[in-house]
């Protein structure tokens, strides 16, 4: 069979044992492809475990720039004996299985429709390095060299990435180069290369960066002026805290005194973490926490307090597979309803849905302004895929002319001016019709502006009251404040000039990558579908107009119960019959193929119904 050369379009998966140092070798491999200017999407599919369980690192290379997952593995590098059979089964027909041939592969593992390339990785490593741990680590670099040669990567680029990786431990660089050469030479001496899957430099990545969403969220909080972070460790959100701390150490230490312009508190649990944030923002600092679904469940009590007492909070929820402990290291968009309506009683909370690392940065910044402006909790809803995987992204951008919007906070002078006019400060008094009251920060004035914050029912002057009419006035104002929120939330993104057909597709967050690719695929098939990416809740006029325009809507999301569809129906009074779903919830990011198949099915069903 004639093999057609495929350039810059492949999926390669590394199958490793976690805790063996494979992640950093695989990341260097991905970064080298990125530096060759080829669009690349790495995904780490890892276990909730420290050492000894299977972990996969999947890299999609797409010259067209598609950054979603693609099914069908062209090359599998299998160095985990625990899952050999499953790994071999997962290779697409005509693909390659690259394995450690230090031990012979049993005949039962031989598939006739795929190609096998054996490299004695651990033997080579043991022959060249003494200590067991070093042998293990360099085995990874040996396969990087071998695979890079097989797909014709630029070895100099890999060397440059290695040099960058170890710039603080330069002694390790020559040893890594040596391991790389071991892999390269083994291929050159034993196999014909390159394979039909090849990479060629195209310099298509412009000024893009390769970064994970959690790092960008942490940086966004720093740029937004957050000074207090309180948090409790939980996958997949922990690296937001790490990022905040790491960059604070670089950017927020006073050079003269060596003292910190931030407080970074690892709380005893999520309840305390959000309590600390509420205490800090009540006292006039910008503060935030990050967590995942189980943490949000624990925070529900305080979320209600922040809503009712109108205290700004920024909470970043990096979703993982639920319910309960669920799949801690798998991705889902399954906290849509529990975030939007978190806590008991009538509550709702503005939510932001970033889809790229650059947007993680921008929307984290926006969350602080919105929380202060609206005096309420604002949730940034990311997910494990966005938070923990590297994504090619536009660079992070800050407008140096931007000023923080700290909202309606009265100064001592303003309090005195109010007093001189004979007016009384009312913490929960709507003074200008937007339903957002003024607030004061403790310590502002010796005798003016103090009030009592409480989670119990209160009047316009923060006094306790159980009178029905007082309660109604307050909660109805909160409902009106929600209407104000609708006018200032970030706008949705549309992918067409004006509305074209009669089907509208709606998606948000990381589903975007696959959805954008699916649009091209459908367009190739002549299917016209208009698309909207929602970035925020509550839904503004633009979202409402879009859903009202189309006869048929399809919401693509990554949970079982079509939660975003429910949210749209609940908030926008849509006829449920006209809104369908394409769902993916196995914990692995959705693909364009799944979306196209799902939509075709929906169109078919609809055609039959008509």
């Amino acid at each position: 069979m004639e093999k057609v050369t495929v350039v810059n379009d492949l999926v390669i998966r590394f199958s490793n044992v976690n805790g063996t140092g494979s992640a950093s070798a695989n990341e260097m491999f991905a970064k080298s492809i990125f530096r060759m200017g080829i669009p690349v999407t790495p995904k780490n599919i890892f276990p909730s475990n420290i050492q000894g369980l299977p972990t996969w690192y999947e890299i999609r290379v797409s010259e067209k720039g598609y950054l979603g997952r693609r099914a069908g593995i062209d090359i599998l590098v299998g160095v985990n004996p625990q899952v050999l059979e499953r790994d071999i089964d997962s290779v697409r027909s005509g693909g390659y299985f690259i394995y450690d041939s230090s031990k012979k592969l049993h005949d039962s593992y031989i598939r006739k429709d795929i190609n096998y390339i054996g490299i004695p990785m651990i033997k080579l490593s043991m022959a060249n390095y003494e200590r067991a741990r070093i042998q293990q680590l360099f085995k990874n670099i040996i396969y990087v060299g071998a695979v890079a040669t097989l797909i014709d990567m630029e070895i100099d680029v890999i060397k440059e990435v290695i040099a960058d990786q170890f710039k603080n431990k330069p002694k390790l660089i020559p040893a890594n180069y040596q391991a790389l050469e071991l892999g390269i030479n083994y291929i050159k001496e034993n196999y014909s290369y390159p394979l039909q899957f090849q990479l060629k430099r195209i310099d298509k990545n412009d000024d893009a960066i390769l970064i994970d969403g959690n790092t960008a969220c942490g940086l966004g909080a720093i740029y937004a002026g957050a000074t207090v972070m309180a948090w409790y460790p939980i996958t997949p959100s922990t690296s937001i805290a790490s990022s905040f701390e790491k960059y604070c150490k670089k950017l927020r230490v006073d050079p003269e005194t060596g003292k910190n312009k931030y407080a970074f508190i690892q709380a005893e649990d999520e309840l305390a973490a959000i309590g600390m944030v509420i205490g800090a923002t009540w006292n006039g600092a910008r503060a935030f926490t990050s967590t995942s679904g189980p943490g949000v469940s624990l925070m529900n009590e305080f979320i209600g307090l922040s809503y009712f007492a109108e205290i700004p909070v920024v909470l970043i929820n990096v979703e993982r597979g639920g319910p309960s402990t669920g799949m801690p290291t798998r991705t889902q968009q399954a906290d849509i309803i529990s975030s939007a309506y978190a806590s008991h009683g009538d509550t709702k909370h503005p939510c932001l849905y970033p889809s790229t690392p650059a947007e993680c940065f921008d929307l984290t910044v926006a969350a602080f302004d919105l929380a202060d402006r609206l005096q309420t909790l604002v949730m940034v809803i990311s997910d494990l895929d966005l938070g923990m995987n590297n994504h090619m992204s536009k660079p992070l951008k800050w407008d140096d002319d931007k000023k923080y919007d700290l909202g309606k906070v009265l100064s001592a002078d303003e309090l005195e001016e109010l007093e001189s006019k004979g007016e009384k400060f009312g913490r929960y008094l709507d003074v200008d019709g937007d339903a957002i009251p003024n607030r004061t920060i403790p310590g502002t004035h010796p005798s003016l502006g103090s009030y009592f914050t409480r989670g119990t029912s209160h009047d316009e002057y923060a006094k306790y009251s159980e009178l029905g009419e007082v309660y109604l006035k307050n909660v109805d104002r909160l409902a009106q404040k929600w209407e104000t929120a609708k006018t200032i939330m970030p706008k949705p993104e549309f992918y067409q000039e004006g509305n074209r057909g009669n089907i509208g597709m709606i998606f948000f967050g990381t589903t975007t990558y696959a959805a954008v690719e699916a649009m091209d695929k459908m367009s190739d098939k002549g299917i016209i579908i208009d698309s909207m990416r929602v970035t925020a809740f509550p839904f503004g006029k633009e979202v409402e107009d879009f859903v009202n325009y189309y006869d048929q809507l399809i919401v693509v999301e990554q949970n079982r119960d079509a939660q975003f569809r429910s949210l749209l129906i609940l908030e926008l009074d849509i006829n449920p019959k006209k809104i369908k779903s394409v769902l993916n919830y196995d914990g692995i990011p959705i693909t364009a193929h799944q979306i196209v198949v799902g939509i075709e099915k929906q169109i078919l069903v609809n055609a039959q119904l008509n």
Partner: protein
């Protein structure tokens, strides 16, 4: 329902050093039961703040949920207050303190709010040596829900309904000592002479100052057989010392017998004067404090007074090395690194 008090006061009442009269430190009229120990503690807080000339806006009062946690509305109306959720006052106070290190944080809690639902946050606030005064108004029962035993109720104490508590009580002072709290004391709501200077000293202490104040519940736990009734506590009080607090501005005016007074200097120049009643106890030695407490308990007594103080206490801000300026006063210019730094960061991801 809260009532506003009339603002009239006797013309002879003197303003303090910052120009406030005592009624400026009061709150609305209490809605607690007549005779509630908590109201006496509120009174002691008012007196302590007035006498030490604290500007009302330089103090924030915080609480959880319960009878005790209602009291912050009954004192210091000119201070910001925060009645948070059940058992969560410590986390709110931690955040508030992180935002502004320049205020005094007065946390009020109860035995249910601290020893049961709030135990987790209580112990961690101690562990961090958060700079705050933490007062537990301890009556051994849940008043607002009609008198159930709390976790601090003594073993064998008889409830109003007549049942004997089958569980050992949690001694919050003993726990605080075990957790290395830097200021630990117990007092009695009926002993203002001791309580007022202890609150003053607690406010001057740079770290976690814990005051467990036995405060009888007149409605649900003042019956015969209760170990938290007024009569039982009065009959079983044993003091560690005669206690006085001397602010740094003041001359020492208290007359003590030569040789019996221990003077402890606090970081701000103020001092604590103790006339010790037990020679084997040293208030700066945690072990001796623990022994002193156990000795009193073995006799069935309620030990009041200062138990322990770490005069070299370093609070959370010192531990995490924050700047001198309160974090909530830092400006955008001081906090935002700007695009030039972001360019460098972007480059590190290429």
């Amino acid at each position: 329902m809260s009532y506003l008090k009339p603002k009239f006061h006797h013309p002879s009442l003197k303003p303090n050093k910052v120009g406030f009269i005592k009624s400026d430190y009061e709150g609305v009229i209490s809605t607690l039961c007549a005779g509630c120990g908590h109201d006496s503690i509120s009174g002691a807080i008012i007196q302590a703040c007035y006498e030490t000339s604290i500007e009302p806006h330089k103090l924030a009062k915080l609480s959880g949920i319960g009878c005790s946690s209602k009291t912050p509305t009954y004192f210091l109306s000119n201070s910001h207050g925060f009645n948070s959720v059940h058992g969560r006052m410590p986390s709110i106070t931690t955040g508030a303190n992180m935002a502004n290190k320049d205020l005094i944080y007065l946390g009020v809690s109860g035995d249910g709010d601290t020893a049961a639902i709030g135990m987790g946050q209580f112990v961690h606030a101690i562990r961090r040596n958060l700079n705050m005064v933490y007062i537990v108004m301890n009556n051994g029962c849940y008043g607002l829900t009609k008198g159930q035993d709390s976790a601090t109720a003594d073993f064998g104490s008889i409830s109003k309904a007549g049942s004997s508590n089958p569980y050992p009580g949690i001694d919050l002072c003993g726990l605080a000592l075990e957790l290395n709290a830097t200021f630990v004391g117990r007092s009695f709501s009926g002993d203002k002479t001791q309580l007022v200077p202890m609150i003053k000293a607690a406010m001057a202490h740079p770290g976690f100052a814990f005051l467990d104040v036995i405060s009888p519940c007149v409605t649900f736990n003042n019956n015969k057989g209760s170990t938290r009734s007024y009569s039982h506590v009065r009959a079983h009080i044993e003091e560690t010392s005669l206690f006085d607090f001397v602010p740094h501005q003041d001359e020492i005016t208290v007359d003590y017998d030569e040789g019996t007074v221990t003077k402890l200097e606090l970081f701000d120049g103020s001092s604590i004067h103790l006339s010790k009643l037990a020679p084997e106890w040293d208030p700066t030695d945690r072990f001796s404090a623990v022994n002193r407490l156990h000795a009193a308990k073995s006799k069935g007594n309620v030990l009041t007074g200062l138990y322990y103080i770490d005069v070299e206490s370093e609070d959370l801000h010192v531990k995490i090395n924050t700047v001198d300026k309160p974090l909530n006063k830092l400006t955008q210019e001081e906090l935002c690194p700007g695009q030039s730094q972001l360019d460098v960061i972007n480059d590190s991801f290429r």
